[in-house]
Amino acid sequence: METTTASPPAGYVPSGVGSSSDSLAGTRRWAVVLGLLAVATVLAGLYMVFFYAPTEATMGIVQRIFYVHVPSAWTAFMAFGVVALCSAGYLWLRDPRLDAIAVSAAELGVVFTTIVLLTGPLWGKIAWGAWWVWEPRLTLTLLLWFIYVGYFMVRGATENPERGKRFAAIVGVVGAVDMPLIHMSVQWWRSQHPQAVILRPEGAQADPAIVQTVLVWVLGFTLLFFSLLLFRYAMERLSQRAHALRVAH
């Protein structure tokens, strides 16, 4: 990769600065629409959790935490995918919009990963008898959380913010390449040990009502993710513009 100066060429204004054509109004409109759809879906999901889905036979009432847990995990990993794609794009094209999407998705990723890591033990304590078990999926999620932490630490730790963005993008790309390897490793690692007495979550998916409820929640959380992503993206773009104006004057 040839060195290009990180500061944009003279005359180039980070897209949108000072021009009224690149308005963020459309972004915000979509954010509101998706947000309303997400709220409606989650409300429907809540109804299904309490009045539609039956109580799971072996795990009992505690199984219902899965309706928050599983969609959060799905959203957390999807967020990481968005971070990775936009980070790779940012390293290649240096478009500030890609960086804005990446950092927005990373923040949401931390939130949803945290939800996974908080709801999991609540269920595990009752179903497994332990708050934490070194099960492959738990291990992977925990490491994912730490990679996100590194992403934000490195982003905020440079004198030159442009450099911080590049460093964070590198963490995003290398982290994404590493995730499948970590996944493979922790699976292999655990298969070396006698399996703990685990009530496999797959067992809970027998009842179609339960599957349908989970799917509604996955949809709701996905909509919620994209709604928040757009809100946060619009905010990041404004922050970029404010920064560019500060630098210009």
Partner: protein, 258 residues
């Protein structure tokens, strides 16, 4: 120029690592500009290794630290526990900590007094620069590992005989991946305010695959399992190495831009 950037040091040491030595190393490096890729890699690695050979600051600090960690393990581990059953874990924790300590210094010399600017002005490909730094780090950490294993064998009465070639393969393959990620994130950490504090935070989660397979393979060899039992781990480590080396070389250019 890098030796000048090494900052205040005792004069007795400075006699060896004089600026002239570094300049000599750099003349070689510059002569390699436009030279084949591998010659560039070697020029960068030679510069780092020459500096290390003259100052020995990383080898000494990492080696001393590693032996001290081994001693701390002796105090910390219950005598009733058979050391052999956990030695693989102890050894790799020691190597990871000592290696991370040394990686923090890998780019410190270049960063002080903006010596990196000089390095970047040399007609060396960014990928060659990365692989050169990686090669030098490999050599230094392998030297530390060559100390760590005998020290642990001595302190904890371990027997490696019979499995030495397989063990060497595990160590080399694990170090390739460790140093690929380590060199990349060492360079990143050196350019942040947090510096060396940030390095383990970035590095340890990403190193999970290497740690898992290196520990498992070492442990198996330690308890006398046949070499055929670790072939699959060696293959996995080799695959990780290729992925990490490729990705880290590809993104390294983005670290160095101003």
């Amino acid at each position: 120029m890098s030796a000048v950037a090494a900052g205040p040091r005792e004069p007795s040491l400075d006699v060896h690592a004089s600026p002239a030595d570094a300049a000599e190393a750099w003349d070689d490096a510059e002569a390699a500009g436009g030279a084949p890729f591998l010659a560039q890699v070697w020029a960068v690695a030679r510069k780092d290794l020459l500096l290390e050979a003259r100052s020995r600051e990383r080898l000494l600090s990492m080696g001393t630290f590693a032996v001290l960690v081994a001693i701390v393990f002796s105090f910390a581990v219950d005598p009733a526990v058979r050391a052999r059953s956990i030695a693989g874990a102890m050894i790799w924790v020691t190597v990871l900590f000592a290696g991370t300590l040394g990686l923090g210094r890998s780019f410190a010399l270049e960063r002080e007094a903006e010596a990196l600017t000089g390095v970047l002005l040399a007609p060396v490909d960014r990928g060659a620069l990365f692989l050169g730094k990686w090669l030098a780090n490999m050599a230094i950490v392998l030297a530390v590992e060559a100390l760590v294993f005998p020290v642990f064998a001595l302190f904890f009465n371990l027997a490696f005989q019979g499995s030495l070639p397989a063990l060497a393969a595990v160590v080399v393959l694990a170090t390739v991946g460790f140093m690929a990620l380590g060199t990349l994130f060492g360079a990143i950490a050196a350019h942040t305010r947090l510096g060396e504090t940030l390095l383990p935070i970035l590095l340890l989660p990403l190193l999970a695959p290497v740690v898992i397979f290196a520990c498992a393979a070492t442990q198996r060899l330690l308890v006398g399992r046949p070499v055929s039992d670790v072939v699959s781990q060696l293959k996995m480590l080799g695959a990780f190495d290729l992925v990490f080396l490729f990705v880290c070389t590809a993104v390294f250019g983005a670290v160095l831009e101003e």
